[in-house]
């Protein structure tokens, strides 16, 4: 294959969008797994035709699908996600203790080097790893077991582990983020973890600068500088230059620093993208205008990108896993909305066009590049 493959998870199925390197004409395949929630689909960097998909349902629970031919055919892999040992308790919304209970897989992160190894971030928050192509799963229990687990609490969408970043230089280092616990780092391949939330400030917890309890929505990194992290928090856009040891705010001139997605340009590690959302109760763009904001300075100075995006009466949301970039030049940027549109830019955000307009509500967008 030559070109771009966009993997879209929605509330009612998966869709695969393909185009050549011109990125003008798109073919739409799907729905795959129609009627099921597809929280996330992602391809293996080591074998791009190996895809993993999280298929879930409030009725029928979790199914884990995998494909070995780029999404043309699928087979169910393993769906037994069992917490190690006594699961213990976390906080419920009302502050009472509640036992850990597996609900669904939010995010799948295939290994950079081994197509058989894949990580799963789940609700209730925990990290699992499979080393046999998704057939069996084992919890990396040091995360929940490091001590603060009983203080974690669910965000509005549930207590989910939604972000997994694998360091491209140091194979023993990885990052995860949980709503609402915060960000964590492991330097020993997931055996042990430390919270990395210094500098975050969240007014919705009793101690706004507490070690855990922050509702981190998304973390991004550029592979050339894995010690530099960017975060979209519940409120605030943040940056760390020391692998998460400390964070500082880079919201700058954004019209709202609430939002879900954050992404980094494929070739410019200081170029960032966010989609400001009005507030935590008003999950739509400010002024009914859908605008991506781009910073070419690593934060603080942001410019609105609106060409091709609806600029009136637009009240969709862009969820945390629903933005991605390709690695062509110029860099392509993609995002999906709760209104079912998937927008693409083939000029690093200067202009946008919808690939599809009327899908079910989009949960996730991933991009594979075949130059």
């Amino acid at each position: 294959m030559n070109g771009i493959r966009v993997l879209v998870g929605t509330r009612k199925g998966a869709f695969i969008l393909t185009a050549d390197n011109e990125r003008r004409h798109w073919d739409v395949s799907g729905p795959h797994f129609g009627g099921w929630e597809i929280y996330h689909i992602k391809g293996s960097p080591a074998d791009p035709d190996r895809l993993y998909a999280s298929q879930t349902s409030s009725w029928f629970g979790q199914v884990l699908q995998r494909s070995d031919d780029g999404g043309r055919t699928w087979e169910a892999a393993g769906n037994a996600f069992e917490y190690e040992g006594e699961p213990g308790t976390h906080q419920w919304y009302d502050g009472t203790a509640r036992p850990w209970e597996f609900k669904r897989v939010w995010h799948l992160e295939p290994s950079r080097t081994d197509p058989e190894t894949v990580y799963a971030g789940v609700e209730d928050a925990a990290l699992f790893r499979s080393t046999d192509g998704g057939h069996t799963w084992r919890e990396l229990a040091g995360l929940r077991g490091h001590g603060s687990g009983p203080q974690w609490q669910p965000g509005a969408g549930g207590m989910c582990l939604h972000t997994i970043l694998l360091d491209p230089v140091d194979p023993a280092r990885m990052y995860i983020a949980i709503s609402a616990a915060g960000a964590f780092r492991s330097d020993d391949a997931g055996a042990s973890w430390q919270p990395i939330n210094r500098g975050l400030k969240s007014e919705y917890i009793p101690d706004p600068t507490a070690e855990v309890g922050h509702c981190v929505h998304r973390i991004a990194m550029h592979p050339s500088r894995p010690q530099v992290l960017f975060m979209q928090k519940h409120w605030d856009v943040m940056r760390s230059d020391d692998a998460g040891a400390s964070w500082h705010e880079i919201s700058g001139n954004l019209p709202s620093d609430f939002g879900f997605v954050i992404e980094v340009h494929a070739h410019e590690p200081e170029t960032l993208y966010v989609v400001p959302i009005k507030s935590d109760t008003e999950h739509y763009p400010p002024d009914g205008r859908l605008r991506v904001y781009r910073s070419r300075t690593g934060g603080n100075e942001w410019e609105p990108l609106s060409s091709g995006l609806p600029q009136q009466n637009c009240y969709v949301n862009v969820l945390r896993d629903a933005m991605a970039v390709d690695t062509l030049d110029p860099c392509g940027v993609y995002f999906g909305t709760t209104g079912g549109q998937v927008y693409a830019s083939s000029d690093a955000g200067d202009s946008w066009t919808p690939i599809v307009r009327d899908l079910p509500s989009v949960l996730s967008v991933e991009v594979q590049t075949f130059p």
């Binding site: 009627g35 409030s58 009725w59 199914v63 069992e82």
Partner: protein, 98 residues
Amino acid sequence: MIRIILPPQLRTLAHAGNEVTLDVAGPATQRAVLDALEMHYPVLRGTIRDQATRQRRPRVRFFACAEDLSLEPPDAPLPEAVAAGTEPLLIVAAISGG
């Protein structure tokens, strides 16, 4: 021979037809039927019963002979007509939105 009617979502998942027929060794109980069903269709493990607790998932119901059997103990005998194969066991997705 036990007859089982799956909800459409699980038929698709299991690549099964409208009605599944299974031989069940021993007394026909919910547990025995579901064990046999999952043995024939491993992809259904975890979709009708919780993977860890083996309890019926809250939004899945069992009907047969115009009765709701969802709250019957898993080892209680199914109705004679189900055990004899004259009536199917219906596995139903609860009406709860979606």
